[in-house]
């Protein structure tokens, strides 16, 4: 299926060009800048909707394909397309960007044009990562993402922003350059830079393991998985609210997406050989990081650790597949695990964005993220408390919210692999509830603890719009996840079938 206009190119380049326009509009009349940025982001979202409405759910083939030669001497082409795995993530990106633009409306007074432009350019680049079908194009978008994020954290971040942003950049850069070497190696093996050609490339086990490790360095840092997660709490704490939202909601998903697009289909045998490693790292993320989150004093740090724990679920769901496939008694569980991981990614995109926005709302008013500085917020900000408690419930995986669906699917799949995996994974239901609700108790409920809190004003219409739209999304996905699952069903089924066949 394809449209008669290059929809993916438009969704990539419109925000980038719009971002440059915003940059050019300067800071003399900040409101013009803001409205222009909002207009661009809304237009981009509207233009990305046909990706969903025109999507053919019956096939695992790439859709909306565009293919132009880019660097012929190097067999690199400008090849775009989406399947059921990437399409929901693109919509997530275009949706979240609107909210980020709105959330930064009044808060950002220092060079708003550069702020808005950075997010718009970021949006286009992230869509490019999801849509690229050429490995080199993917890599270019993947790395290009770092530049705007580096700037965003560095300029508008908190007191330790410089340390955090350089750590963020170097960590992710370190991870990805080895992926580049792996991509070049595969280029020589296959004579092509097409990701889909890599999927069919025959590789022996040694090659697969080395390539798998190179990919793992790139994607594990991005996800991030324990033990290479340490950049994330720093980056989240120091980033401005919008930066945290984009980081948590979308950039982390790019790591998960990388596993599905590269690691699993290109190196299935290495993935199977090393699945204990990933499953182990994922379970440590779920359990250990859950405990770490429990003791945090800083709200943003707490949510950052909770993100790591939730992303542990995603990787667990992806790699549990091999244990299920190895078990001849069950057949359908493999798809369930990957689907659960995907649902968890989309759902976490909404929930973590909402949680960071909630903290942002508080921070804008009191300029503190310390849990101890709050208490009794519900008395002065009832509307805000409503939203925050709702999102906290979703974060803890309350049935009826999207947070439940993904976790449930992954736990269900884990049962088919190994009882103990499921038990360990299920501790998240307790730990997640503990750290999230304990924070809520200390921040939202109780007596008003200080004059600062007493003087807080409730959320304004702008903030209501942002939080309400996310609440709707969380609820919709929680009550009726079928449309999302239907979209990715064919693609994931195909993927699982592909990785079930050894390349050796």
């Amino acid at each position: 299926m394809s449209a008669d206009w290059p929809i993916l190119s438009v969704v990539i380049w419109l925000p980038i060009i719009g971002g440059l326009l915003v940059l050019g509009s300067g800071d003399r009349v900040p409101n013009v800048t803001r409205w222009l940025a909002l207009l661009v982001s809304i237009l981009t979202f509207v233009l990305s909707i046909p990706l969903y409405t025109g999507f053919d759910v019956s096939t695992a083939q790439m859709q909306f394909v565009e293919n132009l030669p880019w660097i012929p001497a190097f067999d690199v082409s400008y090849h775009l397309g989406v399947d059921g795995i990437s399409m929901p993530l693109i919509l997530l990106t275009t949706f979240i960007t609107i909210l980020v633009i709105i959330a930064g409306w009044e808060v950002i007074q220092y060079k708003p044009s550069q702020y808005m432009a950075a997010f718009l350019i970021m949006e286009g680049v992230m869509v490019g990562v999801f849509a690229a079908l050429d490995a080199m194009l993917f890599y270019v978008f993947w790395e290009a993402m770092l530049i705007p994020m580096f700037i965003i954290i560095g300029i508008w971040g908190g007191p330790r922003r410089v340390y955090a942003t350089i750590k963020f950049f170097l960590y992710t850069f370190l991870g990805s350059v080895f992926m580049l070497v792996a991509l070049i190696y595969m280029y020589f093996e296959s004579g092509s830079m097409e990701i889909l050609a890599f999927h069919d490339l025959k590789l022996n086990l040694t090659e697969q393991v080395l390539i798998f490790v190179a990919f793992l360095l790139a994607f594990a840092v991005k996800v991030p998985m324990w033990p290479v997660h340490t950049w994330l709490p720093d980056a989240h704490v120091e980033a401005p609210t919008g930066g945290s939202v984009i980081l948590a909601a979308i950039m982390l998903k790019i790591g998960g997406y990388g596993f599905l697009r590269f690691s699993l289909p290109i190196t299935p045998d290495a993935s199977q050989t090393l699945d204990w490693l990933i499953i182990g790292m994922s379970l440590i993320a779920v359990v250990y990081i859950g405990f770490v989150a429990l003791v945090q004093q800083d709200m943003k740090k707490l949510i950052a650790y909770s993100s790591i724990a939730h992303m542990g679920f995603v990787t667990l769901g992806f790699f549990i597949v091999f244990r299920i496939l190895a078990n001849p008694d069950v057949d359908s569980g493999a798809v369930l695990g990957v689907q659960g991981g995907m649902v968890q990614m989309v759902s976490h995109g909404f929930i973590s964005a909402a949680m960071f926005l909630c903290v942002g709302v508080l921070y804008d008013r009191l300029h503190s993220r310390q849990i101890a500085d709050y208490g009794g917020v519900v008395n002065v900000m009832p509307w805000f408390a409503f939203f925050m408690v709702f999102f906290a419930m979703a974060n803890a995986g309350l049935p009826g919210t999207s947070g439940f669906v993904g976790e449930f699917m992954v736990i269900l799949a884990s049962f088919r692999a190994d009882f103990w995996f499921a038990v360990l994974a299920a501790t998240t239901l307790i730990l997640g509830a503990a750290y999230t609700l304990w924070m809520i108790k200390r921040v939202v409920f109780g007596e008003v603890r200080s004059e600062g809190v007493a003087a807080l004003s409730d959320i304004n219409a702008r903030e209501v719009v942002v939080l309400a739209s996310l609440a709707l999304a969380v609820l919709a996905l929680g009550l009726w996840p079928a449309p999302l699952i239907e979209v990715m069903d064919a693609s994931i089924g195909n993927l699982v079938q592909h990785i079930g066949v050894s390349k050796l």
Binding site: W70, I71, A73, I147, I151, T165, L170, V181
Partner: protein
């Protein structure tokens, strides 16, 4: 053999530049400081005219002149156009700086023109002597340029160091050349290559000579362990000279390596590839690590140059056309990038103030978002982050070494480019995240602003559409 005028056609650009340089020399004698603009204009026109002539005589075939001592082939065309274009940028940056520092004299332009002429001759060298002549013309012009600010002790010291070490390097090179000449009995590259290829020449003598030739090349490039002059000279020379020194001579050094090692000693590639491997690893390591410790931006960029030389040599190690074209691409891109990086320093300087420290970049985004944005592109291009062209330069070189099954070398290179990313990021940090310590208006002249904008935009444009430049570099080696 008879000479008629048309047979001189391939060497026309060099003749034109020589004539133009002499013209500027004479005209400049009659100019007062206020009308010195004329020398600048004439020099730019001379360079643009030479570019046009190079383009006019260019072609896919290989032409030789003067009994094989002068060669015009596609590689030479590409190298010359790159040299001259970067030269134009360098002069545009340099004028405003010299004016601000009170050392605005015509000799800057004249020496630069002669240096460029020397480089063009190197690019077209067909035998050892032509190559050496071009090299010395370049070197002598540049020694004088480094000492251009005659009242500066730092400049005089730098020039002295450069001169002594440069002379030593030339000596090494000559000694190596004499060995090759002695072994093969010829000075012409094609005949030397034939003699080596015949297998009748004593290999011990050849390799003995080759060691000295490689040392000479490494000196001129500034590769570790022959790099000691680079930071001192870059630091000591006036910024206008440093930016010239850091950009165009790298292209000439590429020509030197190409003519000597590939055209001449191509048959010994297994030997020199091993020698270069040592230089590459050392240059990447020392260049990137020591750069972190620098607080002086000129020194930092000097060490960064050393690490980039490692990447250029990496292309040579592949010892095939793909590798050479990757190295050519890298060199051209690097020259453009380096000119921009030092160009910004020249623009930030003004009367009584010479911008050369890292903290002089602080708050540039507040002072001039446009300059900061362009510098951002240049710095990320140096770090090799897409979508800037620096990424593709690194990519091609890496591809070339992986294609000859030296994946470990690619691993070393990417590792050190991460180390390198740190100090480029620190410069970005100064520009964007820190508040200015100096609020004076930036007094950059309009021509340098234009040059800088073109330079920065080129980073992005070549990054988004690298196919054109890549095609040119590939075609240069296709014949």
């Amino acid at each position: 053999m008879q000479y008629d005028l048309t047979s001189l056609q391939p060497v026309l650009p060099e003749l034109f530049l020589l004539g133009a340089a002499c013209l500027v020399l004479v005209v400049d004698l009659f100019l007062s400081p206020r009308t010195r603009m004329v020398s600048y204009g004439l020099s730019l026109m001379a360079l643009l005219g030479t570019i046009a002539l190079v383009a006019w005589v260019a072609g896919p075939e290989r032409q030789t002149l003067f009994a094989g001592s002068f060669v015009r082939d596609p590689v030479a065309d590409v190298l010359k156009i790159a040299l001259l274009s970067v030269g134009v940028l360098a002069l545009a940056y340099g004028r405003g700086y010299l004016l601000g520092q009170g050392i605005y004299r015509g000799e800057y332009f004249i020496l630069a023109l002669f240096a460029l002429l020397g480089m063009m001759i190197m690019a077209s060298a067909g035998n050892f002597l032509t190559l050496y002549l071009g090299l010395e013309l370049l070197a002598l012009s540049v020694y004088a340029l480094v000492a251009f600010d005659r009242d500066s002790l730092k400049g005089a010291e730098a020039a002295m160091k450069y001169f002594v070490l440069g002379a030593l390097a030339s000596g090494m090179l000559l000694y190596g050349i004499s060995m090759l000449y002695g072994a093969t009995g010829s000075l012409t590259f094609t005949e030397v290559a034939e003699a080596i290829g015949s297998g009748e020449v004593d290999e011990t003598v050849l390799v003995f000579g080759l060691v000295f030739v490689v040392i000479g090349v490494a000196f001129k490039f500034g590769a570790v362990p022959f790099h000691m002059w680079v930071p001192d000279v870059y630091h000591g020379a006036p910024t206008a000279v440093t930016l010239f020194l850091s950009s165009t001579p790298k292209i000439a050094a590429f020509a030197l390596a190409l003519r000597l090692l590939v055209d001449g000693a191509g048959g010994l590639s297994a030997h020199w590839a091993d020698m270069l491997t040592i230089l590459v690893v050392l240059s990447l390591a020392i260049g990137n690590i020591v750069a972190i410790a620098q607080t002086n931006l000129k020194r930092m960029l000097a060490y960064s140059t050393i690490s980039h030389v490692g990447f250029i040599f990496l292309g040579f190690i592949a010892a095939n056309d793909k590798g050479y074209s990757a190295a050519l691409f890298y060199t051209v891109v690097y020259a453009l990038t380096a000119a921009g990086g030092f160009g910004l320093l020249a623009m930030l300087s003004r009367r009584g103030f010479d911008a050369e420290n890292l903290h002089d970049l602080k708050g540039l985004n507040d002072r001039s978002p446009w300059l900061a944005g362009m510098m951002l592109l240049i710095l990320f291009s140096m770090a090799g982050v897409p979508p800037t062209v620096g990424f593709f330069a690194k990519l091609l070189v890496l591809e070339a070494v992986v294609s000859v099954d030296k994946v470990w070398l690619a691993g070393v290179a990417v590792f050190f480019s991460i180390v390198g990313a740190f100090y480029y990021l620190r410069a970005v940090k100064m520009m964007y995240f820190d508040r200015p310590i100096d609020d004076a208006a930036i007094e950059a002249s309009i021509d340098s602003r234009m040059a800088f904008s073109i330079n920065g935009a080129a980073m992005l444009l070549f990054g988004l559409f690298p196919a054109g430049l890549l095609e040119v570099c590939r075609a240069a080696f296709a014949g």
